[in-house]
């Protein structure tokens, strides 16, 4: 077809509903706010890995849907999560990204979370254990027994990730939520304790779902020289996308030919425990996390949506805690070669999604974003995206292809 006029350009594509989405789901501020309320405050979010708080009294801070969250390991070794908000007058209790409460702070004692403002102190279970001049100010009206922190649902699971849900009554348990899609790598990541060796972040102007889309489709191999030379063969095209309940997707494995890329080596000798050599499994979790086990290293992307057109992606790389220094170094090199900030692929992915973000601003014309490739669920089929957006539609009660309409099931089953 030659280039199209406005009417042709805006017409629905010759695809079934469910095979495209409307770009307003990536740019509309009202939809974005609703996503935080209806999805991010209701679902299980992995916030960090337990190795980031390996000792009692270690903590890590984060945010979910703009709410500040603190995760701390108690003297009983249990990891707990709380809102990082002081019940007195709402100051953020801990401001550092990570650290230990073993040492005292200028306003407080060792082994306590202390709000520096008026020195209220809390133990690792979130109990308020000290209110400065309690009796003098509150007499018998308010006491520390009634001013504990807000505790949050928190679990350590799936390879030692720390999962938090802001909702006290989540739709289902973490196991019911994420267990099945993790089955493909669970034996390997739960065989022995893991450790995070890589962390960096990117904050880019694009919608969080566009990053998730890129993690969920392999058609963009055409953008990655590395993937084309190490991947494209019959076995590669035999990889399948498998949809799971709750909008999650797996991409099944194949054997990567790393030696096809000049300067790269096979990862045969250092697989994850119980993981066959040079295999590569991928888990895309609704609403925006990705776990990627490529032979010797595990990568995890956690997305924090910051606005309709702004997202922070935190990138982690993990190895086995018991690694020798040499093994660790090898895993790090494998991880970095493609996924590191100075590696071959990550940068191309960031350019791709930023380019999408740049064409989808609030007020841009609503465009059709096509998710209509069918290849029997094989690697370049866009079924993973269709599966995700059907779930998104249900949570939001909006139709992804026309988000101002209420959700109805797509003409083509999401598979």
């Amino acid at each position: 077809m030659p280039a199209r006029n406005q009417k042709q350009w805006m017409a629905d594509p010759n695809l079934q509903r469910g095979e495209w989405v409307d770009s307003r789901i990536y740019s509309d501020p009202e939809i974005f706010e609703e996503e935080l309320e209806k999805i991010f405050k209701k679902t299980w979010i992995p916030v960090c890995h337990e190795s980031e708080l390996s000792e009692p009294y270690d903590f890590r801070t984060t945010t979910i849907a703009r709410e500040p969250v603190i995760v701390a390991r108690g003297p009983d070794n249990t990891v707990r999560a709380f809102l990082n908000v002081c019940p007195h007058r709402g100051m953020m209790i801990e401001r550092r990204p990570a650290g230990s409460f073993l040492e005292g702070q200028p306003s407080g004692n060792p082994k306590r979370m202390t709000c520096m403002f008026h020195a209220w102190q809390f133990d690792m279970k979130g109990n308020c254990v000290y209110i400065s001049r309690e009796k003098e100010g509150y007499q018998d009206r308010l006491c520390k027994e009634n001013t504990g922190l807000r505790r949050l649902r928190c679990e350590v699971a799936m390879g030692g990730f720390v999962w938090v849900c802001l909702d006290d009554k989540p739709e289902c348990s973490l196991e019911e939520w994420a267990g099945k899609p993790f089955d493909c790598i669970r034996e390997s990541i739960d065989a022995e304790p893991l450790e995070v060796f890589h962390y960096h972040k990117a904050i880019i102007n694009t919608n969080y779902k566009l990053w998730h889309d890129t993690n969920s489709e392999f058609y963009h191999d055409f953008m990655h020289y590395h993937n084309r030379v190490t991947g494209f063969n019959d076995e590669y095209f035999a990889r399948k996308n498998i949809g799971f309940e709750h909008g999650h997707v797996n991409v099944t494995s194949f054997e990567v030919n790393y030696d096809e890329y000049e300067g790269f080596e096979s990862r045969e000798e250092l697989s994850f425990p119980k993981f066959p050599p040079n295999q590569w499994f991928m888990i895309d979790l609704f609403p925006g996390m990705n776990f990627n086990l490529r032979g010797s290293a595990l990568r995890c992307d956690i997305m924090t949506p910051l606005g309709p057109n702004k997202v922070m992606i935190e990138f982690r790389g993990l190895g086995v805690k018991a690694d020798t220094p040499e093994e660790r170094q090898t895993r790090i090199e494998h991880h970095n070669s493609i996924w590191g900030p100075f590696g071959r692929n990550l940068h191309e992915d960031l350019i791709g999604v930023t380019g999408q973000g740049a064409t989808m601003n609030d007020g841009s014309e609503p465009r059709r974003i096509l998710h209509g490739r069918h290849e029997d669920n094989y690697i370049h089929d866009e079924v993973g995206l269709r599966h995700y957006y059907d779930e998104w539609g249900k949570w939001m009660d909006r139709l992804p292809s026309d988000p101002m309409q209420k959700y109805t099931a797509p003409a083509v089953a999401a598979e």
Binding site: H49, S51, E52, R60, R96, P97, A98, G99, V196, F197, H198, Y199, H200, K201, A202, I203, I204, N205, M223, Y225, H226, E262, G263, R316, Q329, I332, E333, N336, G340, P341, F342, G343, R344, H347, E348, L350, I351, T354, G357, A358
Partner: protein
């Protein structure tokens, strides 16, 4: 310091500053000519978030040269990186044959693509902050890199970071 020592210090500074100019101009193989065959390069950063001394990239001379040769096959953000560096210290070893140097480094991204090049081209963004921790050998009054560790403070890296720093 002896005149000899001074000469060595100048040679070290000269090599470091020349390397910055060559890297700015993306003349990778000319840069590698300033490096010994046994050259080891790494980019590292301490992460308080995960309490870990991270290696973001590491390569030897051969790996760097294959990698830089393959760059044109990869997609790229076209905004060049421009370095500002100041050699803080040069310590020449007793025998005068090797030296270590610490260079303060700031890298700006000179936007060409940006997000929308119509708006962004021509603008500069602070891209990263760090130090070069170099080890050099000195021969016939010339200094060559034996090792370079780029020690980053920056742990937020958006698009544009696939080149040697």
């Amino acid at each position: 310091m002896s005149a000899n020592g001074n000469g060595a210090v100048e040679a070290v500074k000269d090599t470091i500053y020349r390397s910055c100019l060559l890297l700015d101009e993306e003349k990778w193989s000319d840069w590698l000519d300033l490096c010994d065959d046994g050259f080891q390069y790494s980019i590292k950063a301490w992460s308080p978030e995960i309490n870990y001394d991270m290696t973001y990239f590491s390569a030897d001379h051969k790996h760097l040269s294959t990698m830089t040769e393959q760059l044109p096959k990869h997609n790229t953000d076209h905004s060049p990186l421009k370095r500002h560096s100041t050699v803080y210290t040069v310590d020449v070893d007793k025998d005068g044959k090797t030296a270590t140097a610490i260079t303060s480094l700031v890298v700006y991204q000179n936007m060409l693509d940006g997000e929308t090049s119509h708006l962004d081209s021509g603008e500069n963004h602070l891209f990263l902050v760090g130090k070069y921790m170099d080890k050099l050998k000195i021969e016939n009054g010339q200094a060559k890199f034996l090792e370079r560790e780029v020690r980053l403070e920056t742990r937020r890296l958006d698009k544009g970071s696939h080149w040697p720093i």
